[in-house]
């Protein structure tokens, strides 16, 4: 069917274009069906929209398959393949090239979106006659129409070249030297795009006026899945940049990182404050606004990072998408504000908060802090743009700013995280708090002493570590009581899983604080046989291997890290890419990481290398913490059990 020859197999590109077109038609068909049946109040016709959803999903699957075939079979008649892949690219990275550049990443976005919308359609197929579900599906389909429209028009991934080059240009080498590149963007998109589902239900609740807690319960799992994917995606991104970029850090407050972090912050605020609404029926306006804001921020982040308005390592080529994304963002904002304004008086909640020293009070404090956190990140990200627009000044807002502003907020968040589980709903008596918080506080104090014994210093870091211990203490206390009461089910459900996730956050905080505050570094010019020492770690430069790998010159240094073995950081000069790319090598342990990277590519006939050695304590705890957070979130999805009633037969079993 596919013929090799001149012009290669244009068929694949045609197949892709066809897939996108089918997807677009499917989305529009779904929207029109729902609009007409909602307008004419013929609930029995809602079901027809599901068929359109399947058409759309089929089109998206076809388009993605076509792109992958093109990439795997080196069809350089396709513009995207020619620009971003090469014959020599390993298979894994050929697959991952789908999300390596602008058009492909939008294709992935659309694909993930169609998977979510299909899953929603299937899981709600029996309730599709419910206007709430229909409106939610309609909202999601409108989002599909927008993104598929981008693929049809301005960001067509299936453009062809009249003369196919012999070989393609290939991705930025940074994007093809670590397998995490294959997972991190997918996880991130699963999170990013996943917030479309709760957004759809939030809009539907506002439109239909069914503002009770029903829609929240319907979307609980979807929100958690999106949240945990985003969390894991962000952490994998941090891990990737740690393993690949060669500077020993994992977070640079780069605009693209911030763009993924912003919806995470508001989403995190939401999954906490929603508990207050489910439990007490309060904070309705606030929760809806948080969901609307979370989705709006994903679009705003896409605008920031896909339009070329901001310089960033992640930035794709400047494109014409900017105005379109900005308009879509504006539309979402206007619709959201209008809906909330319209339904405002129906959103008044019946409950009240009796005491700030209560579970509700803690959730409110959590939300205030997360919102402030998000505000600072947003301000820091867009501030250079604002200033430049006002007076043409070029400013930078870098890590010192974010550190200074966010550290107090982070410390306060840890404090609230520690206290919250010891508080009761409505109000907590001082004596109860004094009893419940005692052991956790003692653990916190002991953690500080322990940290000092291990050489920690500085008020901020030690306080942070102490609060981390406090959080672990109070979460563990909660879990122990839950398990005593309910058996293994005590660690499931939102409160059990949540506490496990909090322990993960503390581990992550330990790793973050220790690695940013107590790292040591050294730079050595070495010849084979030379030794160096950083923070008690002896390293010996054993040998240098200088070889050609195809057209690339790869220089590999073999370095013996005493007690850890031989590690070989490398540096590669690609002919198609200006400056050499260093590939660091990390000797990991749970105590500290010895991070080795080559600073510059050595002279052709020299065996002298410049090696940078960074010793960063507890970095591995961050990745373990991330794993625990993900595990806790999955436990939270498992339905838990709050109480076993005293008269229940399960007591004592």
């Amino acid at each position: 069917m596919l013929v090799r020859g001149t012009g290669s197999y244009v068929v694949i590109a045609l197949l892709g274009t066809f897939g996108v077109a089918v997807g677009f038609v499917g989305a529009i068909g779904g929207v029109m069906t729902l609009v007409s049946s909602l307008a004419s109040k013929r609930e029995e016709h809602h079901r027809r929209a599901i068929t359109w959803v399947f058409v759309m999903a089929g089109g998206c699957v076809l388009a993605v398959t076509a792109m992958e075939i093109g990439l795997l079979r080196d069809d350089f008649s396709m513009q995207y393949v020619a620009a971003n892949s090469t014959r020599a690219t390993p298979v894994l990275y050929k697959i991952a090239t789908l999300w390596g550049a602008l058009e492909g990443s939008l294709l992935l976005w659309v694909f993930v979106l169609s998977v979510y919308v299909t899953a929603v359609s299937i899981s709600f197929r029996r309730r599709i006659e419910d206007r709430l579900v229909a409106w939610a599906l309609l909202t999601m389909l409108v989002v599909c129409v927008f993104f598929l429209g981008l693929l049809v028009g301005p960001a067509d991934p299936f453009g062809t070249l009249s003369i196919a080059p012999i070989d393609g240009d290939g991705l930025n080498p940074l994007l093809r030297n670590h397998p995490l590149m294959a997972i991190h963007p997918v996880m991130l998109y699963l999170g990013y795009v996943g917030f479309t589902v709760p957004f759809g239900f939030a809009v539907a609740a506002l439109v239909t006026g069914r503002l009770g807690e029903g829609w929240l319960v319907l979307t609980r799992i979807w929100t958690l899945i999106a949240w945990v994917s985003l969390t894991v995606g962000i952490l994998l991104g941090a891990w990737w940049s740690y393993e690949v970029l060669g500077w020993g850090g994992y977070w640079a407050w780069d605009p693209v990182e911030n763009a993924s972090f912003l919806p995470w912050l508001t989403g995190t605020a939401f999954i906490h404050s929603v508990i207050v609404q489910e439990r007490r029926g309060m904070l309705r306006v606030w929760n809806l606004s948080l969901l609307l804001a979370t989705f709006a921020l994903t679009i705003f982040g896409t605008f920031l990072t896909r339009s070329g308005v901001i310089d960033s390592v992640h930035e794709f080529s400047a494109s014409s998408l900017g105005p379109l994304l900005l308009s879509f963002f504006a539309l979402i904002l206007v619709v959201s504000v209008a809906l909330v304004g319209w339904r405002g008086d129906q959103l008044r909640s019946p409950g009240s908060i009796d005491s700030p020293l209560s579970r509700e009070g803690a959730f409110l404090a959590n939300n205030l802090l997360f919102t402030l956190f998000a505000f600072v990140v947003l301000l820091g990200t867009v501030f250079p743009l604002i200033v430049e627009a006002i007076n043409g000044d070029q400013l930078a807002v870098g890590r010192p700013y974010f550190d200074r502003m966010l550290l107090p907020i982070g410390v306060a968040l840890l404090l609230v995280m520690g206290i919250a589980p010891t508080l009761t709903w409505r109000s907590t008596a001082g004596a109860v708090l004094g009893t419940r918080a005692l052991v956790p506080a003692a653990i916190g104090a002991a953690t500080m002493v322990l940290a000092l014994l291990f050489g920690a210093e500085g008020l901020g870091p030690v306080m942070g570590i102490g609060l981390g211990g406090f959080v672990i203490g109070s979460s563990a206390r909660h879990l122990v009581f839950a398990v005593v009461r309910n058996g293994w089910r005590g660690i499931t459900g939102r409160s059990g899983g949540g506490m496990v996730a909090h322990i993960g956050v503390s581990l992550l905080a330990f790793g973050f604080i220790a690695s940013t505050s107590f790292s040591e570094e050294g730079e050595f010019q070495m010849r084979p046989g030379d030794r160096g020492s950083v923070a008690g770690h002896q390293i010996i430069f054993v040998d240098i291997v200088d070889e050609m790998d195809g057209l690339n010159r790869v220089v590999r240094a073999q370095i013996h890290v005493e007690g850890r073995g031989i590690y070989s950081p490398a540096i590669t000069q690609y002919p198609t890419f200006g400056r050499p790319i260093a590939t660091p090598s990390v000797a990991t342990s749970f105590i500290d990481d010895v991070y080795l990277s080559l600073v510059a590519i050595p002279e052709e006939d020299s065996d002298m290398v410049v090696i940078r050695v960074l010793v960063e304590p507890l970095v591995a705890w961050m990745w373990v913490g991330g794993l625990v957070i993900a595990g806790g979130s999955l436990l939270a999805i498992v339905p838990g059990r709050r109480h076993v009633r005293a008269d229940s037969e399960e007591v004592g079993v």
Binding site: W247, L379, L395, T435, L438, V462
Partner: protein, 152 residues
């Protein structure tokens, strides 16, 4: 609270404050020239590499800035002088810290303002909640309750 709790809390507070005092004492301001140069480099952005600071970057211009910082520090220039010199040389956006004067200072002021205002709003709303609690009884409520009570 039981008396032994008071004693335990006192011990915890004592240990914590001692630990925090010890932690702050151990954390000296940069003493040597090398430490001072390190701090400056960590807060200067490499002009060509999108967000990395000159300490971390492998770019040649970052290496040049590192050398210049070392030189200026050893000449005994103050931090502010060095930053100003770098800003003249490489543009204002070489400083990772936004300025504290002019329009740039807003980035420091606005979040503090927002924090104070939103906390204030919450406290206010909280008071209102407490006052308004349970005071409103709509006609519907009365009807429902009375209709339910009638049979008994």
């Amino acid at each position: 609270m039981k008396q032994r709790h008071w004693i335990s809390w006192f011990c915890i507070a004592l240990v914590s404050s001692l630990a925090l005092v010890a932690a702050s004492v151990a954390d000296d301001p940069p003493a040597t020239e090398a430490e001072r140069a390190y701090e400056i480099k960590a807060t200067m952005l490499c002009p060509v590499c999108d967000g990395q600071n000159v300490l971390e970057s492998n770019a040649p211009v970052a290496a040049a800035i590192r050398a210049q910082v070392d030189e200026l520090v050893s000449e005994g220039r103050s931090d502010a002088e060095i930053r100003a010199w770098m800003a003249r040389q490489y543009g204002k956006d070489v400083n990772a810290n936004p300025p504290r004067t002019g329009i740039g200072s807003l980035i420091w002021i606005v979040p503090v303002f927002v924090a104070v205002a939103s906390t204030g709003f919450l406290v206010f709303a909280f008071r209102k909640w407490r006052v308004g609690r349970g005071s409103e009884l709509s006609d519907d409520d009365v009807t429902i309750v009375s209709s339910l009570r009638e049979p008994t």
